[in-house]
């Protein structure tokens, strides 16, 4: 069963292959995403994050989940030597970490309900589990940052997370915290594969902020692989990335 809804400003797709899945199971996962949106959306004035940014709530008044995200963001900032930073101009925008975290939790909910073969895709960041309806591991195509309808690389993943950070959106949402006024133009897209989409997402965001050096950061992270596309359409991949690639 495969369903898609627009939530958190992006299409969220859930596909569960296990036969016992019901509409209600999947609806419950979408409800979880809606609750995340209510907490973290910077586009909703009444979200906890917006109220925190407006000074209406103190840190102590934040819910456990929001405080957890702030802590995780801080950990990521340190692990990435400051390149991952959710604070901009005195405001907090945790979108670079909330998405992966939410997808990962959603996958956890599905596993708790006894489902093994599924994926959760929110805006191109994905956690896969088990196999597709053909009985093979899920295949993921990496989008061409210069031509959205084109796939430029195909990987097959065995219970992993994959996240892509990119600048082919209108309205830059990633920049170098060490040089905030410099737009990041050196690279166009950074795809990271890791054990969980939560980690893939935050490290893809951090690596993207590093520009061309980002792929070296991923190379040095044990258990993570990356595929970086620069603004000239040249891709650089980590040394073990090839093990996921299939030529379709």
């Amino acid at each position: 069963m495969k369903r898609t809804r627009l939530l958190m400003g992006m299409p969220i797709t859930i596909e569960v292959v296990d036969v016992k899945v019901t509409e209600s199971d999947i609806a419950g996962i979408f409800d979880y995403f809606a609750s995340v949106d209510r907490m973290f959306s910077t586009y909703k004035k009444e979200s906890e994050i917006s109220r925190f940014n407006a000074g209406e709530l103190t840190k102590k008044q934040l819910s456990t989940d929001v405080r957890q995200i702030l802590q995780l963001a801080d950990d990521t900032r340190r692990e990435s030597n400051g390149y991952f930073n959710i604070a901009h101009n005195g405001q907090i925008d945790p979108s670079g970490i909330v998405k992966g975290w939410a997808i990962y939790n959603a996958a956890g909910l599905l596993k708790e309900h006894g489902f093994h073969n599924f994926y959760v895709d929110a805006g191109g960041d994905v956690q896969v589990s088990g196999k597709n309806e053909n009985g093979t591991y899920w295949t993921i195509g990496i989008r061409n940052p210069f031509k959205r309808e084109e796939i430029v690389k195909v990987v097959r993943l065995d219970n992993k997370g994959i996240a892509t950070s990119g600048l082919y959106v209108r309205g830059q949402h990633i920049y170098n915290p060490h040089k905030p006024n410099d737009p990041i133009t050196a690279i166009s897209s950074m795809t990271v594969i890791g054990p969980t989409v939560y980690d893939a997402d935050r490290f893809a965001t951090a690596a993207f902020a590093m520009g061309e050096k980002g792929i070296q950061f991923i190379e040095k992270l044990p258990g993570y692989d990356g595929y970086m596309i620069d603004s000239n359409g040249i891709a650089t991949m980590t040394s073990r990335f090839g093990r996921f690639v299939i030529n379709v």
Binding site: L6, G9, M10, T13, E15, Y43, K44, Y119, D121, G123, G124, D125, V126, V128, N132, W138, T139, I140, G141, I142, R143, N144, P145, R148, E149, I151, V152, K153, V154, I162, A163, T164, S165, G166, L167, Y168, V169, R170, G171, S189, T191, E212, K213, Q216, E219, K220, P222, D230, N232, G233, I234, A235, T236, M237, T238, S239, F241, G242, N247, V248
Partner: protein
Amino acid sequence: MKKILISVVTIVVFALYAVFGRNSSQASSTATGKPSSSNTYATNTSIAYKDGSYPGSAADAFYGTIQVRATVLNGKITDVQFLQYPNDSSHSVEVNQSAMPVLKQEAIQAQSANVDIVSGATQTSQAFKESLAAALSQAK
């Protein structure tokens, strides 16, 4: 364990540089449009060394001179440090960096779109989000 393996590999690689001269395929930070060949390294996990600190010879690494120092403790390599490193701005050195791998590059090419899932950055914009929020509030 993996760090030891990487250190051993690094020493072997630089030793090969020193003996056989520079490798002609380099991953470059400027676009060339040509894919460079991937490098395969010899690996050896069963070397025993005497404890101590050993500077290597200065080796010509094409874009400058490289010299490493290996530290051995309890018969195992526990650290490899750069004593000399090229100052080429396109190969900037980071503190505590113990290996500088040359990564494979390729020009992106269209593949089959016959995949289960697509990963790409979200195509969202401020206007889209505002429009979506307005539409959804009407749908309530």
